[in-house]
């Protein structure tokens, strides 16, 4: 029992360090010591004398941003693990399957076209968009005879459709400034993130992870397909319904806050499998932690790669993700 606890502590320490780095690095470099003291002052009632501007930058901007990045990376990676297991396809993930694209369309409809008349929040719109995307991809895949290859093809078609719809809405309804904002947001942007966003991202990511963990055995049982899982006593229909809704909710919440970020959901699960193996009781926490650390680091890179400029974090994840995608494709090839 000692080893899992040690590994979990180590992973948490790594995440804590990455977040501290993210709070330290930026246009104004702030020593790690100040970060620790700020957290102490704000959370534990210590009274270190600190420069108010530094404390403000660390607490109000950088820490909230790093925490959202962590939640987002973790949630996308967990979604990827779930989709890959349920669909039995190593290439399945929210972005490839068009769930992120659907969530973007939903969010843009609320943001620009004003659908819902204020009653529907951005995240609500994103959730409806994500559900619509899953439904469309599911129907297309089943209508074409099912099978995991078909699901992926349907996902590609779905993403194209939703991306086209998003572009259509942006070009016809948005003014120039809105269009620029949306474009930046669509590629994944952590710029506007503040503490209230942590209030949404953290419960969704952690709650989603807990629900996924309760289904870890069921996900293992899907290794040989849905019928094999059913013959092992897994309530296949209920598990699928719960977990597809869960991935839709996680993806939508993250897209609503930071836009759609690709490749985290695809690459991180494979990295996690490489480290801890196939069992979902270990794979899910590993993916959560690696995804969290990865996106925090990607966000740091997005701020320092180009001087005086912040890249969309989606650009950084794709720069690393695309080559990794190629490697996975190569490894997933069937023997001739």
């Amino acid at each position: 029992m000692g080893k899992p606890v040690a590994v979990a502590l180590l992973a948490l320490a790594a995440l804590g360090f990455a977040i501290a780095l993210a709070a330290s690095i930026g246009e104004m470099t702030i020593p790690l010591e100040i970060i620790v003291k700020t957290v102490g002052n704000r959370l534990f009632g210590t009274a270190f004398p600190l420069n108010r501007i530094q404390e403000g930058v660390v607490w109000d901007y950088r820490l909230s941003r790093a925490l959202v990045a962590a939640c987002c990376g973790g949630a996308l990676a967990v979604s990827g693990v779930i989709l890959q297991a349920l669909l039995r396809n190593p290439l399945a993930e929210p972005y490839v399957l068009g769930i992120s694209a659907g969530a973007s369309t939903g969010a843009v409809l609320v943001m620009i076209a004003g659908i819902g008349g204020g009653a529907l929040s951005l995240s609500g719109g994103a959730f409806l968009g994500a559900v619509a995307a899953i439904a469309l991809v599911g129907l297309l895949a089943m209508g074409s005879g099912g099978g995991s290859d078909r699901v992926l093809l349907a996902g590609v078609a779905g993403s194209q459709l939703f991306n086209a719809m998003t572009s259509y809405i942006v070009t016809t309804s948005a003014n120039a400034e809105q269009a620029r904002g949306v474009l930046f947001w669509l590629l994944g942007n952590l710029g506007g993130v503040r503490w209230p966003d942590v209030g949404l991202a953290a419960p969704v990511a952690l709650g989603g992870f807990v629900v996924a963990m309760l289904h870890a055995r069921a996900l293992d049982a899907f290794a040989f397909g849905a019928d094999a899982a059913a013959s092992l006593g897994v309530p296949v229909r209920r598990v699928r319904l719960v977990l597809f809704a869960l991935t839709a909710a996680m993806t939508a919440a993250m897209v609503g806050i930071v836009g759609s970020i690709g490749f985290v959901g695809l690459v991180i699960p494979h990295a996690a499998r490489f480290l801890v193996g196939q069992g979902h009781a270990r794979l899910l926490p590993a993916a959560l932690m690696i995804g969290a650390v990865f996106l925090v680091l990607a966000d740091i890179l997005s701020r320092i790669l180009v001087a005086q400029q912040v890249l969309p974090v989606g650009v950084v994840t794709a720069l690393f993700g695309a080559p990794a995608f190629a490697v996975i494709l190569y490894r997933a090839r069937r023997p001739l």
Partner: protein
């Protein structure tokens, strides 16, 4: 494993897209014996097995396990009693033989319960029974077709079932592995229902045979009662001569070229 409680179908019907695949089949497995399901392609063997495994819901009729309608049993309780070996299923995941067999313990474990010594013992026994104990660390992808089928059977045995359903377990295997798998099934201390294509193997390894023809039960009985020249002609549409083998005393089907 109660010896006298067994799986039976009563006037079971099931169809897909308006086509009746199983049409009023009443059939009971005998405890501890091997029941072979034979019939041409599309005669409803796989469909009937799926209904017995509760993977599909009957349109009419009932499937019973002992006195209980299987639809009334909790899913996991049913999976502790009845295990299914499907036709040639594979996985993309990098699982070892042991990982695959451990899946068989799923219905015995709650979502949060730890791996127990009972679970470990069941897996060890299952691996012994199929002769894969020395290959438990091997990766699924490195296994031969025969080894994969054994691993599937071990996974099913780890469920500790009283009934084992197998859908053409010898498909795509060479003759040595076919004999091997069927001899293994015959040795197992469970009631088995096996869908088979090869009539000679069915005669050799099954205690009883049920012949399906266009979704209906054409005949059921011992191989001696079932495998007649007339039946083979009506059901399979081929001319055959059936003789008793002087070597093993079982029936032997010779196909005659028209």
């Amino acid at each position: 494993m109660t010896a006298d409680v067994t799986l039976a179908t009563h006037e079971v019907r099931w169809g897909v897209g308006g086509v009746l695949m199983v049409d009023g089949v009443t059939l009971a497995a005998e405890p501890g014996r091997v029941l072979g399901l034979i019939g041409p392609n599309g005669s409803g063997k796989s469909s009937l097995l799926r209904l017995m495994a509760r993977l599909r819901k009957v349109s009419s009729g009932v499937v019973t396990l002992g006195d209980a309608n299987i639809d009334a049993l909790p899913r996991r309780a049913f999976a502790r009693r009845v295990a299914l070996v499907e036709q040639q299923t594979t996985t993309e995941a990098a699982l070892t033989v042991q990982d695959v067999v451990r899946l068989g313990r799923t219905p015995h474990r709650g979502p949060l319960s730890a791996w127990t010594s009972d679970d470990a013992a069941a897996v060890d026994t299952a691996l012994e029974q199929v002769g894969l104990a020395d290959r438990r660390e091997r990766l699924w992808h490195s296994l031969s077709g025969g080894e994969r089928q054994r691993a599937h059977i071990a996974r099913a045995l780890a469920q500790c079932p009283s009934e084992l359903l197998l859908d053409e377990p010898t498909n795509h295997l060479d003759i040595r592995h076919q004999l091997d798998i069927l001899a293994l099934i015959r040795r197992l201390p469970v009631t088995s229902v096996v869908a088979l294509h090869d009539l000679n193997l069915a005669a050799l390894f099954c205690d009883r045979l049920a012949v399906l023809h266009q979704g209906k039960l054409a005949r059921v009985g011992t191989p001696d009662e079932v495998l007649t020249e007339e039946l083979i002609e009506t059901v399979f549409g081929v001319q055959a001569s059936v003789e008793r083998s002087p070597r093993h005393g079982r029936l032997q089907v010779h196909y005659l070229m028209g």
